[in-house]
């Protein structure tokens, strides 16, 4: 008898959920990756996308890959090269030379702390990163441009490639395009 009651209860619950229009599948659907639908900095990304003619989904994909939306991310190469010139900063991991080409840093070999802080603000970082993407996409095919964003034009021409970088960015790009 108790089994019959429990069974009837489960059946009633099933029909109740179904009648409310909630699919049981959706209850176990995995949550979307960080920022897929409501990506942080969407307004800045959109404005930079329009300004520089770069798809906003690509900007988001690069941010996701480069910093996972952490505006304070710093990739320090100083330990390897004894200089700060190869460090990259912020959401889009913008390098100091790119920042100098954009007027954010006076001398990439000797940046001030103020200039680095300025480079790391989302507004400046996304703007500079999107500009760099736009420049590369204007000169090279998509795959090449994306890899060059990561290792630099000179690095790419010397044969440097980051394993999986392109595939990861393209994967995120497909997610954000939806």
């Amino acid at each position: 008898m108790p089994f019959l009651v429990i069974g009837l209860g489960c059946l009633a619950l099933f029909f109740l959920v179904k009648s409310l229009g909630a699919s049981p599948v959706s209850l176990v659907k995995p949550s979307l990756p960080t920022g897929t639908k409501n990506a942080p900095y969407s307004d800045i990304i959109l404005m930079s996308s329009r300004t520089w003619g770069v798809p906003s989904a690509l900007i988001k994909a690069v941010i996701r890959q480069e910093s996972n939306f952490n505006p304070n991310a710093i990739n320090s190469q100083a330990a390897k090269t004894a200089t700060k010139t190869d460090d990259s900063y912020g959401l889009m991991q913008v390098g100091l030379m790119t920042a100098q080409n954009f007027g954010l840093v006076k001398d990439y070999k000797n940046p001030s702390q103020y200039e680095i802080s300025s480079l790391m603000t989302p507004q400046n970082n996304i703007n500079a990163g999107a500009r760099e993407l736009s420049r590369l996409l204007g000169k090279y095919p998509f795959d090449t441009a994306v890899q060059m964003y990561n290792v630099g034009e000179a690095g790419f021409n010397k044969g440097y490639r980051a394993p999986d970088y392109l595939n990861k960015v393209k994967g995120f790009y497909d997610e954000y395009k939806i």
Partner: protein, 121 residues
């Protein structure tokens, strides 16, 4: 309350080396003053460079949308066009940065008309 105001016109140009950027205008608004951009013109000596060169307005070192990247000709030289929405209070700094993303040097210039007013309390 009365307002004292004055209109200024500044013309500047500079040879921007290939792949570099340079400040062409920097102004820190005096305390209690209000700085308002009225009209703006920009030009370059290399027509093929348009879209690969930019004029960016920065307020306190932050790009100022939508004037973070003026890529085309807004007004040639002294033929300035109205530019709305840039009004800055005392203590803040406006920069205009010229960037050249071409492979050659480009002479780039601006013609800026602005109003500086001092509201009297």
């Amino acid at each position: 309350m009365s307002i004292k105001s004055e209109v200024f016109i500044n013309n500047y140009s500079a040879l921007i080396l290939a792949g570099t950027a340079q400040d062409i205008f920097t102004f820190t608004v005096p305390a209690k003053a209000i700085f308002k951009v009225l009209r703006f013109g920009n030009y370059c000596d290399t027509p093929g460079a348009w879209t690969l060169i930019s004029w960016a307005f920065m307020l306190d070192n932050l790009f100022l949308y939508p004037y973070n990247a003026i890529l085309d000709q807004m007004g040639f030289g002294t033929e300035r066009q109205t530019l709305q929405g840039i009004e800055i209070t005392g203590g803040h700094t406006l920069r205009i940065v010229e960037s050249n993303f071409t492979a050659g040097n480009v002479r780039m210039g601006i013609s800026l008309e602005y109003e500086l007013s001092y509201p009297e309390q």
